[in-house]
């Protein structure tokens, strides 16, 4: 197993390099660069462009300083050099990206951990029950409800939830003193609260975004679980188990569950990159500055280093996720072994 793991880890290097090259090309081939952005930036898109600008010389100096006037291979070499030294910067402010990246990463990871836990905690039992009693009222009802949820666009749901949260009578009738927060992650008086109040405040703020992020995934995972389970309970060994008089619960939870987890494990591979990738739409609507907005703004502002770093982060985590799910696969399914591969 160790040799297999080492082999896989080494294989990741050329894969990553390939991803690096492709993403570098994609972001560099888009017109514009940080210089144009710095001196005629998107800030001006909204308010109008200042007519008395005269910064061509400054722009030229800026381009030269960061090598944007050099051919792409040279720039790629410069990028690799910075990457090796961990010297990733925002070109426009010449500040390292790490502080902002870490701030956004914390927000997104925390949100997504909660979302992911909720999804799995709810979806796995739902799927099992549906599969255990196929075509029962519960199955039909949950199937319909989940498919409706799956098809609702999240921006629309977010807006509905927000409108609901703004009904102050609702909260006062439920005994809340203040109105429900509709954006951000902290109240303005956050710093003056006790730590318990801070926790409550934070919890209040994340309810809406977490709901919006959860319901879609919930439908998807529980359907996967149901399908996996249905596949398994048609097998002969399940019939054998039933025939020898096992209780329904034992058949499902002991005999069938383990084998029906394969599709769920495959899905787990996407867990890691999902943890660090934010949803731009939800973040915009709730004014949360997580990874989604950070990388989106990075693209708009042509902050190449930031974009490359977030892409690399996802790439590395995806590769690791695939590896982990392969390993888990072997652990849950003794019929698959590393030697076979």
């Amino acid at each position: 197993m160790a040799t297999y793991l080492i082999k896989r880890l080494f294989l990741m290097i050329p894969t990553l390099f390939g991803i690096l090259v492709v993403s570098f090309l994609v972001i560099r081939l888009a017109p514009g660069d940080p210089a144009a952005e710095k001196f005629g930036g998107a800030g001006q898109a909204a308010s109008g462009v200042n007519a008395s600008r005269g910064t061509e010389a400054a722009e030229k100096r800026f381009r030269q300083r960061h090598g944007f006037d050099k051919p792409l291979p040279t720039q790629f070499a410069m990028y690799l050099n910075r990457l090796v030294h961990g010297d990733m910067i925002f070109f426009q402010s010449e500040q390292p990206i790490w502080k902002e990246l870490w701030a956004a990463l914390k927000i997104t990871m925390l949100l997504n951990l909660i979302v992911f836990t909720l999804i799995y905690v709810a979806a796995v039992p739902l799927g099992i029950i549906s599969a255990a009693y196929p075509r029962s009222t519960f199955d039909r009802f949950s199937t319909m409800a989940l498919f409706i949820m799956y098809s609702l666009p999240s921006f629309w749901v977010a807006e509905l939830l927000r409108q609901l949260a703004m009904q102050n009578w609702l909260w006062s009738s439920l005994g809340f003193q203040s109105r429900w927060p509709i954006m951000g992650l902290k109240s303005q008086n956050f710093d003056s609260l006790t730590s318990f109040e801070q926790l409550c405040d934070y919890a209040q703020h994340i309810v809406l975004p977490v709901l919006c992020l959860t319901y879609g995934g919930l439908a998807y995972v529980s359907r996967q679980m149901r399908a996996g389970m249905l596949e398994v309970i048609r097998q002969d060994y399940i019939r054998t188990a039933e025939a020898k008089g096992c209780s329904k619960a034992r058949v499902i939870l002991v005999h069938a569950l383990r084998n029906s987890l394969f599709p769920i494990i495959t899905l787990l591979a996407s867990l890691l990159p999902f943890l660090v990738g934010g949803s731009v739409i939800i973040e915009v609507i709730f004014n949360i500055h997580g990874m989604g907005l950070l990388s989106y703004e990075g693209v708009l502002r042509r902050e190449y280093d930031l974009v490359m770093t977030t892409l690399m982060l996802s790439a590395v985590l995806t590769l690791i996720g695939i590896l982990v799910s392969d390993v888990l696969y072997v652990i849950v399914n003794p019929r698959v072994s590393f030697e076979d591969k």
Binding site: A30, P31, A42, S47, A51, A57, A58, Q92, A103, E159
Partner: protein
């Protein structure tokens, strides 16, 4: 913008100069050499009365009240085709005057209240600045926040637009006079390299042609300044004047000063013959006597000229009016930590602006012609401008806004055992002396990146930055050390909330999370507002106000189908701007016909905007040779179809609507217009590279702006990435612009602007659309809310909440 030096090696392509307008019908009466190309003794200006020429009758082609300013007539017809115009607006177009408070706030009008302090104001901005450093950041949001934190030397009155003392108590302005090189006792000589020292030199300046894509680089010429005995004279003035007219060269010469050793390198002008002059410099208030002599009277106690100097004709060679300004600062201005604001701070700012390692290029361009900034005492400072320029005083007044506290940085370095100095030092000298230079690389890097100042700057204004929760808000609180009680502001706390998304911002207003929604979209202002419940509508007052800005569609003159001005005129006639405003903007915009602010002194109100008239447009198109010969519905000429691609930034629904209307109207006369909304960075790249047939954009500007950046031909070449994005070239426009920049008399400047306006109207490089209003809504508990015609249009220090209506403690 002020960059006389940098429109240097431009006119290599001057062969192209006239191609833009050569074909296009009758051009305005040509001017003759009245621009002050001949620099000697012509440029003196008192700034009060009008022309120097005096009584002479108005010549044809010149203004009656300013007979030395070329007059351009308003275009009435082209090739016999009458140009239709809109009726002149009868809306009051007064720029200045008292602004009424609380318009639309019924409750405020019902009961009168007195201003009290207290409460919190939460305002929404659509973007967050990267830092709150007034030198390294140049975003509008930074300015709107920091205007409460850092003040000006003189501040602009929002109602009169005049400048009033602020940090400076008063100023004294003097003129610079350059004596002749043989003035007795003050002889000066100049030499090229090791050549002979002479009183004047002839310089044949040749810029080698551009090679393989690289722009041409003019050579540097080394000069030495000396007295008549050959001893080097430091800091001596040298003027380099074009002989005759050289396209792209400064018509008032290039003014330079030699260094400590009397050495100077010059260069970077267009190819041509120049005269290099030298002479001692004196300054004072000048007055021309009747006998032609010039009296220079020192007006400040700090002037090295101790007594009045009378110069006979020929004893001086150049006057640059109002280039020396001495500011006398108040002695009670304090930084928010209690330390006094002194001229040392201003000198510090000057050192930073001259430190190329400080990331302040956007600001630096404004001050590249500020050649001296010398403290004459803790509260007296003299600033010298390179040459006379009508916006120089505006820039100088703003200088304090870009001034960081010297003592703050001194303390940081003192704690490291180093001394911060304003002297230029090499890294070795810095190490040896345990000093750090404000002009050095290390300090530049520190200043660009250190968080202590950049996220929580000290200030001298009515408010200071209390905290900055990144990505969410900046909180300002009243400055306890503020020194001008009458302007101290009423609300205790101003919270600037950053909400980029329009819908989220609107929801935040509904939910009561913000008090003032700045930058509402027109759709929200007109349509979404109606969907709000009555209670919300009653809680907020919605407002619309003008700021200096206009929207336009530019027709790129590098595109062959748009070269002819008849075409551009026709295109303007194909969009009914008034109807669009009435239908989509409910009348909340003014159709404009020129480039200056519609309320400003530069806008010629006699030029009515060109009217919507598809028939005349068809005539003009036919006149220009565009006819649909193959009956496919699209006009063609010499086998080419009339197709235009219009590019613009994405994200404003109103712009798409404009394009749809234009597209349809164009189609009706046989022009195929495609529009491409582009993501901003890509759009800017196309714009700069001039790869757009047509663009739609908005310019924001001051109440009176300098047309140089947008319209001067030195910015027109395809490889120039400046603001002349349509490659407009007109010799006449260039001359007007050059004259305008050195004219200090506002009345005369107004006439020059008017001629320029008419010329632009005649050439139609843009289809000028309108000056739109800004939209917003604020909580009705705020009083004394006034909407000004300057950006951003409001002054939050004036707003207050009556005691019984205050919401926050």
């Amino acid at each position: 913008m002020v960059r006389y030096r940098s429109f240097a090696l431009v006119m290599v392509l001057s062969g192209l100069l006239l191609s833009g307008c050569a074909k296009s019908g009758p051009v305005a009466p040509a001017k003759s050499g009245t621009t002050p190309t001949d620099s000697t003794a012509k440029t003196s200006e008192s700034g009060s009365s009008g022309s120097a020429t005096g009584e002479s009758k108005a010549r044809p082609g010149y203004w009656e009240d300013y007979p030395d300013v070329p007059k351009v007539e308003i275009m009435t017809e082209v090739d016999g085709i009458k140009i239709p115009r809109m009726p002149l607006s009868n809306q009051s177009l007064q720029l200045t005057g008292p602004v009424p408070a609380d318009v639309g706030n019924e409750e405020a009008l019902k009961k009168s209240t007195t201003p009290v302090t207290g409460d919190t104001l939460t305002i929404r901005f659509n973007a967050e600045p990267k830092v709150l450093n007034t030198i390294t950041e140049n975003s509008a949001v930074m300015r709107y926040i920091m205007q409460y934190v850092n003040l000006y030397l003189f501040r602009q009155n929002n109602e009169t637009f005049g400048f009033e003392p602020c940090i400076a108590k008063h100023e004294i302005v003097e003129d610079s006079v350059k004596l002749s090189p043989d003035y007795p006792g003050r002889e000066r000589r100049v030499a090229i390299n090791d050549g002979d020292a002479q009183t004047t030199l002839e310089l044949d300046y040749v810029v080698p042609p551009a090679q393989d894509g690289k722009p041409a680089q003019g050579p540097k010429v080394a000069l030495i300044t000396s007295d008549k005995n050959g001893h080097p004279v430091p800091h001596a003035w040298v003027g380099i004047y074009p002989v005759g007219k050289i396209p792209g060269a400064s018509n008032i010469g290039y003014h330079q000063w030699s260094d400590d050793k009397g050495q100077l390198e010059v260069g970077g002008f267009p190819t041509g013959k120049y005269t290099v002059r030298i002479g001692d410099e004196v300054f004072g208030v000048t007055k021309t006597q009747e006998d032609g002599s010039l009296v220079v009277k020192p007006a400040t106690a700090e002037n090295p000229l101790r007594e009045e100097l009378t110069l006979k004709a020929g004893e001086w060679q150049d006057i640059q009016a109002k280039t020396y300004t001495t500011f006398y600062l108040r002695d009670d201005v304090k930084w928010s930590d209690g330390a006094p604001f002194t001229t040392k701070d201003l000198e510090f700012a000057y050192a930073l602006l001259n430190n190329t390692d400080v990331d302040g290029d956007s600001i630096r361009t404004y001050y590249s012609d500020l050649v001296e900034c010398t403290a004459l005492g803790p509260y007296v400072i003299r600033m010298r401008y390179r040459q006379q320029y009508f916006l120089a005083s505006d820039f100088l007044y703003q200088f304090a806004f870009h001034t960081p506290p010297l003592h703050f940085f001194e303390e940081i370095f003192r704690s490291q055992g180093r001394e911060l100095t304003l002297d230029a030092l090499t890294p070795e000298q810095e190490a040896a002396k345990k000093q750090i230079s404000a002009r050095g690389q290390e300090f530049g890097k520190f200043f660009n990146t250190d968080e202590r100042y950049n996220s929580k700057p000290l200030g001298n204004g009515p408010y200071i930055v209390d905290k900055w929760e990144r990505k969410d808000r900046v909180e300002l609180v009243r400055n306890p050390h503020y020194w001008e009680p009458s302007k101290a502001g009423h609300v205790d706390r101003i919270i600037v909330k950053f909400i980029p998304d329009q819908v989220t911002a609107f929801t935040a207003l509904k939910a009561g999370e913000i008090d003032f929604l700045y930058d509402m979209s027109p759709e929200q202002y007109f349509d979404d507002w109606q969907t709000l419940d009555k209670q919300t509508q009653d809680t907020y007052v919605k407002s619309a106000w003008f700021v200096p800005m206009f929207q336009w569609i530019g027709w790129n003159q590098l595109a062959p189908q748009l070269k002819d001005r008849r075409i551009r005129l026709a295109l303007t006639m194909l969009f009914d701007r008034q109807e669009f405003i009435d239908k989509k903007l409910h009348g909340e915009a003014i159709v404009v016909s020129g480039t200056e602010y519609v309320f400003g002194i530069g806008y010629d109100r006699k030029v009515a905007p060109i009217a919507y008239d598809p028939d005349t447009a068809r005539e003009l198109l036919t006149d220009a040779g565009w006819i649909d010969t193959d009956n496919d519905g699209i006009l063609d000429r010499n086998g080419e179809k009339f197709q235009i691609v219009l590019r613009m930034g994405k994200g404003k629904p109103i712009n798409d609507q404009i394009c749809e209307v234009i597209q349809k109207n164009f189609k009706n006369v046989g022009i195929d217009l495609q529009f491409q909304p582009m993501e901003w960075a890509s759009f800017v790249e196309k714009l700069r590279a001039k790869e757009c047939d047509a663009v739609m954009l908005r310019w924001t500007m001051g109440p009176e702006s300098d047309p140089f950046q947008i319209w001067h031909s030195s910015e027109a070449a395809r490889e120039k990435r400046g603001s002349n994005v349509v490659s407009f070239r007109s010799q006449q426009a260039d001359e007007l612009i050059e004259l305008l920049r050195v004219t200090l008399d506002p009345g005369k400047r107004s006439r020059i602007h008017h001629s320029f306006h008419r010329l632009i109207d005649r050439e139609q490089p843009y289809t000028f659309m309108w000056t739109p209003k800004e939209f917003g809504a604020y909580h009705k508990r705020f009083r004394n809310v006034k909407w000004y015609r300057l950006r951003p249009g409001f002054d939050l220090t004036e707003w207050y909440v009556p005691k019984d209506e205050q919401l926050h403690k």
